[in-house]
Symmetry: C2
DNA sequence: TTTGGTGCAAAGCGTTTGCACCCGC
DNA sequence: GCGGGTGCAAACGCTTTGCACCAAA
């Protein structure tokens, strides 16, 4: 999804294309293969524009999330990390815990999960699956 | 795992069997099929003993976690929830998002995950899988 | 008696919110 | 000019920590 497509969708929902919002979106697009914290996004934008506030990042992420444009996860330390959704097809992620690199994992046993839940009287409302590891690049860096 | 077995393991690690610690452990054992927040544990213990502090709960959960006796997860809201580990066999959980009820899900495609990660140059260090739903009891309550 | 444990209050930290001012449209 | 957007500072909620006192072993 390009910057203009996202801005267009936001416009239809009543949101404006401001300079700061554009910088945040450009950061997310440029790093679409990384999962980032609000603070990381804040710092990245700050490198190009001294005038940005953390709360602006949070408010923009909230809007993107409402528009269903954001994939969110939360680390063991309780920090929320996000990336732009890459496609509509159901999938999960393989995440590098060092650098945040993302690989799409699209083999999901959703049918098995639903049947298992039903078998135990549960109505399945969702599931989470994340593979965590260290990418090739970070493995090489570790050897230094 | 019984209360005495846990206290024995803690003793070997240099920890004492205090009254408050015992109350926390009894609460975890009694509710072994529920996933609880620190605050829920605090309130449950408080019902039986006016003298307990939230920080004591956190400190005890930290010790249990170091002793590998605790399963931890974190909600979308950033609240950590715990339960005593029920067995050593690798497994995941089906969780009721209303009442916290837990069902063990032991069909895990770990081999597939490892192969997928290796195929992308990753060293797989772990994975998370949680099924979320509403248990039969909570479904019935909702209809009221 | 030694050393870990606890309650209390304050601090930490990521995140949210109220408010005044700013800026797309 | 209207209504959404932003920076700033303060508040929030969960969790951690420093400290003095308590209690297991």
């Amino acid at each position: 999804m390009t910057l203009n497509q996202i801005l267009e969708q936001l416009k239809l929902a009543g949101y404006k294309a401001t300079a700061t919002r554009t910088l945040i979106l450009e950061t997310l697009i440029k790093n679409h293969e990384l999962i980032l914290s609000a603070d990381e996004i804040y710092l990245m934008v700050k490198l190009e524009n001294a005038k940005i506030n953390r709360s602006t990042v949070y408010r923009n992420l909230e809007i993107l999330s409402e528009e269903n444009l954001l994939y969110k996860t939360i680390t063991d330390q309780g920090v929320t990390k996000v990336k732009l959704r890459c496609c509509d097809k159901h999938h999960h992620h393989l995440i590098c815990d060092r650098c945040g690199k993302i690989v799409v994992f699209d083999q999901c046993a959703s049918d098995l999960y639903r049947e298992f839940a039903q078998g135990h009287g549960f109505l399945l409302t969702g599931h989470t699956l994340e593979l965590h590891g260290i990418c090739k690049n970070c493995q090489l860096l570790e050897r230094v």
